[in-house]
């Protein structure tokens, strides 16, 4: 199986509020600056590979740098150091117009706060990516309708995002991402803003969609349960670095350090209970 996403030695360092611009990519100097309080390290020497067709989950608490990491993949945030490859093409060294082409063709993103256009109908929102590509009206609306049906929003095409519930808005967000039919989906805490029942429902649907489409999904979450449920592979992120990477089971069984251990503690208890035979209890986990 080929590699869909490859990240090598990725750093993202921000200057402190009002501080000088970061003009170096030397790890030692960056480290030094951070220690002196001149800079904040958001992503620190992160490397990983995602095989195509896999769901890769990055889990971490807020402030662990996971949102910055996902933005670095499309250079929505410009990395300070390191390389990002999408489908074996390096995107960290290409020019703006080529980057635009990559964003249009190779990957689509789903956002925690949806990022829908309030002035466009559901249909136009879903067709947005296709419009940017310059695809004709008829073709892109046909495609958009197809995607709207796929996420179960038929009948809502002419409504505006403001009149939809959070769950429905995120369905629009997912439909928009799928409309361009990219091989890679980047999802930045897509279900975090939704209430637990809807969240569960959306997770199930994503799993279902994934079995049909077989995309490569890079999924960021702060919810361990969500990560376990969706991920083929998982990484735990803390203060900008990956502290552990492996399958959800590996992480559950052999937490690499105290931080991960504390993270998975509760989950482990539930897991033990389920294995103890009380399967109904496991269903309540959320």
């Amino acid at each position: 199986m080929s590699t869909a996403i490859k990240v090598a030695g990725l750093w993202k360092v921000y200057p402190r509020e009002g501080g000088k611009k970061i003009d170096t990519d030397d790890p030692e100097i960056l480290q030094e600056k951070a220690e002196k309080g001149e800079a904040v390290i958001a992503v620190k020497d992160v490397s990983f590979e995602v095989a195509s067709g896999d769901v890769f989950v990055v889990m971490g608490l807020s402030g662990s740098g996971k949102s910055t990491l996902i933005r670095c993949l499309l250079r929505l945030v410009e990395p300070t150091r390191g390389q990002v490859y999408l489908n074996d093409n390096e995107i960290t060294n290409i020019k703006q117009d080529e980057l635009t082409r990559f964003r249009r063709e190779d990957a689509a993103m789903v956002f925690q706060h949806f990022g829908l256009m309030p002035h466009r109908s559901v249909l136009d929102n879903v067709a947005f990516g296709l419009k940017l590509k310059g695809i004709s009206n008829k073709e892109r609306y046909d495609k958009a309708r197809e995607m709207i049906d796929l996420v179960g929003l038929e009948g809502w095409e002419s409504y505006y995002p403001a009149s939809l519930s959070g769950g429905m808005q995120q369905r629009v967000g997912i439909a928009r991402a799928l409309a361009a039919d990219p091989p890679i989906l980047l999802m930045d805490e897509p279900f975090s803003g939704l209430d637990p029942l809807i969240r569960r429902e959306m997770q199930d649907e994503l799993v279902k969609l994934q079995t049909e489409m077989n995309k490569t999904i890079f999924f960021v979450t702060h919810d361990l349960d969500e990560g376990m449920r969706l991920g083929d592979k998982m990484a735990v992120m803390q203060e900008g670095s990956f502290v552990q990477m492996g399958t959800p089971e590996e992480i559950l069984q052999n937490p690499a350090d105290d931080y991960v251990a504390r993270f998975v503690q509760d989950k482990k208890k539930q897991f033990a209970m389920v294995q103890g035979g009380e399967k109904e209890l496991g269903e309540d986990v959320s």
Binding site: R101, M117, P118, H119, S163, R176
Partner: protein, 283 residues
């Protein structure tokens, strides 16, 4: 007494500078002058060609269609009739022509300027204090450069009105574009929007309410300036006010003043009703 020896003259050099400017760039100023005059004459001939009742019907139609309130529609449509009854209709149209010309120029120059300011931070840091200064300057002051470069008449009046009225549209275009939510812009970028596409598809539509508020402000500023610009030959209602001040004819001034207010109210409502149509749908 202020020390006599500290006396320092700038009036002389400034006059010399202006003379030099006028002599050197006379072609330039003449070009602007004739361009503005052509526009003004076009607009004013169109406005004069429209019979009075068409204005009333148009106002009623626009207000009625956007507000759907019977009282305010009838009220706003009948207000201009009062101006006609005072016998000031033609003068009001004359003022309106100057206002519209100045506003058209302000929009043509102000909106792109605001966009550039929103696009380039450096430009904002440069232009912002200039706008601040322009808005704190007494409106009278703008008569001086207008007079200097274009002499007396309707062209300098348009010029002074334009200068006075242009800051709000620049400011509010810039502000509107900058206030477009970051997450929406980021989403657009992640789908491969170029800078131009981002502007056209996302930022301008979402900034539209703010830009139209700017149009409204600019129009109101132009209207207040057109009264003052009557001192350098704007004519119209402002000139009527000026005459009544000179002759201490309170009644005549009152009629003209009320007419200006009526013009302001109606134009304000009209531009606001356009702005309302561009609010993003909330349900």
């Amino acid at each position: 007494m202020f020390p006599e020896t500290w006396k320092f003259e700038v009036a002389g050099p400034i006059n010399d500078l202006v003379d030099w400017l006028l002599a050197t760039f006379s072609v330039f100023f003449d070009g602007i002058s004739s361009g503005v005059l052509t526009l003004l004459l076009q607009i004013s001939s169109i406005l004069e060609a429209i019979p009075w009742f068409i204005y009333i019907i148009a106002i009623a139609a626009i207000i009625g269609f956007t507000s759907r309130r019977v009282f305010s529609t009838v009220f706003l449509a009948l207000l201009p009739v009062i101006v006609g009854m005072f016998g000031l209709w033609d003068l009001a149209i004359e003022s309106l022509a100057v206002v519209i010309t100045a506003v058209v120029l302000a929009l043509i120059i102000g909106i792109p300027m605001g966009m550039l300011m929103a696009e380039f931070n450096l430009l904002e840091t440069i232009i912002r204090p200039i706008l601040d200064a322009m808005q704190t300057m007494p409106s009278f002051v703008y008569l001086i450069p207008a007079l200097m470069f274009f002499g007396l008449g309707r062209v300098p009046a348009v010029f002074a009105t334009f200068i006075f009225a242009v800051p709000p549209i620049i400011r509010l275009t810039n502000l509107g574009l900058r206030l477009v939510p970051q997450e929406v812009q980021e989403a657009a970028l992640s789908y491969g929007a170029t800078r131009m596409q981002l502007l056209r598809e996302v930022r301008i539509p979402l900034a539209m309410p703010s830009i139209l508020a700017g149009v409204n402000q600019t129009t109101m500023m132009a209207l207040s300036m057109v009264v003052i610009a009557s001192m350098i030959g704007a004519g119209g209602l402002g000139y009527e006010v000026l005459i009544s001040i000179n002759r201490i004819n309170v009644g005549r001034g009152f009629e003209a003043g009320i007419s200006v207010v009526i013009l302001a109210i109606v134009i304000d409502r009209l531009t606001q009703s356009f702005a309302k149509r561009y609010e993003p749908p909330s349900r």
